[in-house]
Amino acid sequence: MSATHPVSVAGARPAHAWRLAERLPLLVTLALFVAMSAAGGVLYDGFLSPQVFLNLLIDNAFLCIVAVGLTFVILTGGIDLSVGAVIAFTSVLSAALVQRHGWHPLAAIPLVLALGTGFGALMGVLIRRYRLQPFVVTLAGMFLARGAATLISVDSINIEHPAYVAIAALRIPVGGGASLSFGALLALAVVAGGVALARLTRFGRTVYAIGGNEQSAWLMGLPVGSTLVGVYALSGFCSALAGVVYTFYMLSGYSQHAMGLELDAIAAVVIGGTLLSGGKGHVLGSLVGVLILGLIQTLIVFDGTLSSWWTRIAIGVLLLAFCLLQRLLVARHGGA
């Protein structure tokens, strides 16, 4: 049994066994997702309809996009706490530009995307150049973005621009009477792009190498500095893009939007099997992590009898059950 081998001989295992062990957390997460869905199907009528699952994607599209960017950051062993605040800033700024200053969305959206990317890159430079702790830099970034959003507008701004309303109402049929929103499609595209970036490019390999051991990556001559800055810029871009999707979803800009979303995003990435210490994980896992969080919420909505505090406790218990099961299954089969 591979489980009885000590960790140190992992490299001596056959290649396919190693790959299985590496993929196992992701497979376990997927299996648990299926099991939870089945449980929901048994407990509640109408749970297993395709639209319920597509709604997971529609309602969590922004979380999904943020999680892809965050996965890269966490893979390098860093963290980005500013994602929720950047979403709020993006939504407020684009709402203010479109609604109050009469900008066309096609001008406002590229601007907020550029701002988000620049903001992420700036944090990356601070982290890289001055060796500051990512946690503190991005926490200050969170204060800054949230504060800047409040400075633009204290009140919520509703968006009535026809282009926004049209895109928000857009439903793309995917067969069987089910449909996806524009944001959900965009989220899927971002996940696909993220997978490709992580698996097929030099940038992606460097990210994994830095997470494994930054010193070795540097000694190998990999562009550690630019990659680190790039990773935070990518996360900033994803957050801004998520902010754009969020704005479509809510049709408003508000400085208190997406409060505490950073923890949901981190939870999604980690549930998806990415280690917070860096070096190990999958972009695809983060998608499944987001879907699992969404599924927990959906199960509670379907139940419908829980008062607000029981909802919190139920989410905690489900999260616990999920993490315990994952640990149990991974420990039994994967060794690591």
């Binding site: 001055y130 702790q133 830099v137 504060g147 923890l263 029981w310 919190r312």
Partner: protein, 355 residues
């Protein structure tokens, strides 16, 4: 000569600057001095009615809960852990204390000495310790990543607190309990004595016994520490439990101060402020290097920032931005790389004259 004196001074400064506590203390001193310049009355202390009054006392008093939480947080971060449930634990402790007090007071109306107080304190601290122990078990026995293990309690904890209070804000009128957060002892706020007691206890445990060495060893390399015979799991459990207890104490101070326990607001976002305080104090989030005194100073820096922002009278919307910019400034000031590049720039600007 003037230059040799300058070089000597620079060397002396460099020796002092290499002390871990130097930069956090300098930051705090600069902040206080800045306040003193803007508002000359800021630093003054007065003795009135047998109590010491002044902004400095006020800052220390208000920082007390955050200091307690930061001290506990330092312990878990020292062994590569993290506890993001401290705010929820504070809320649980506060509601448990308030609930116990209300029950005992409803029992038979008149006051029966200090029994309700001790019962409430014991119940609250036991609850907080149980929360910390639970986190520790998830991390050490189950092997979850600390942030996820404590995320569970962070999500569920406020729900549990609401459940205890039945969704209500519990209001307590009981003088001995109110003394915790509002009372004065020897002219100083009682909360400061709690802080000093906890700090002294931890300082003795980690600075004067082998425990501190073990904790550092575990932070540097958990595997190596385990192989070397350090009982890593037991120590981790104890550290998470201590972190829970200190968060519980903070919750007690907060709820006693406002004579009520609100499951939603006690310790809200306190985990982030505490981690920030720990980082500002020079503790590495990667473990192995920690400073209890640094975290204490870090928490004071955060509270001084908050008080400064209020004192300057900026509109509330600017608060967060100002706090963020100040945090960036503080971090850059503490970064050796940043100081080196500034020094390089200054030398080039000085046309290479100094050396």
């Amino acid at each position: 000569m003037k230059t040799s004196f300058a070089i000597g001074l620079a060397h002396g400064l460099q020796t002092i600057a290499s002390r871990p506590l130097f930069w956090p203390l300098l930051t705090l001193a600069l902040l206080l001095a800045g306040n003193g310049l803007v508002n000359p009355g800021f630093l003054s202390l007065q003795w009135r009615d047998g109590h010491l009054y002044g902004n400095l006392v006020d800052i220390a008093n208000r920082a007390a809960p955050l200091i307690l939480v930061s001290l506990g947080m330092t312990l878990v971060i020292a062994v590569r852990g993290l506890d993001i449930s401290v705010g929820a634990i504070a809320a649980i402790a506060a509601t448990v204390a308030a609930w116990t007090l209300l029950r005992l007071q409803a029992g038979d109306g008149d006051a029966r000495g200090l029994l309700p107080l001790f019962a409430a304190l014991a119940a609250a601290i036991a609850a907080a310790a149980a929360c910390g122990l639970w986190n520790g078990l998830l991390v050490t026995k189950v092997g979850m990543q600390p942030i996820i293990a404590t995320l569970i309690l962070m999500v569920a904890g406020r729900g549990i607190a609401q459940l205890i209070g039945d969704g209500q804000i519990l209001t307590v009128y009981y003088a001995p309990y109110s003394y915790l957060g509002n009372g004065f002892l020897l002219g100083l706020p009682f909360a400061l004595f709690v802080v000093v007691a906890v700090f002294a206890l931890l300082h003795v445990l980690l600075g004067r016994t082998a425990l501190g060495l073990f904790v550092r060893a575990m932070g540097h390399n958990p595997q190596a520490a385990h192989v070397a015979g350090v009982r890593t799991k037991g120590i981790s459990l104890a550290l998470y439990t201590s972190c829970g207890i200190s968060a519980g104490l903070a919750g007690l101070l907060v709820s006693s101060n406002v004579a009520s326990a609100d499951a939603n607001s006690v310790g809200y976002l306190m985990e982030l402020d505490a981690i920030l305080a720990v980082c500002l104090g020079g503790t590495a989030l990667t473990g192995g290097r920690f400073s209890l005194a640094g975290s204490l100073v870090g928490a004071l820096i955060i509270q001084t920032l908050t008080s400064t922002i209020y004192a300057v009278g900026v509109p509330p919307q600017v608060n967060l931005v100002a706090k963020a910019l100040l945090v960036f400034a503080v971090m850059l000031l503490q970064s050796p790389e940043f100081r080196r590049s500034v020094r390089g720039l200054a030398m080039r600007a000085g046309a290479g004259g100094a050396r």
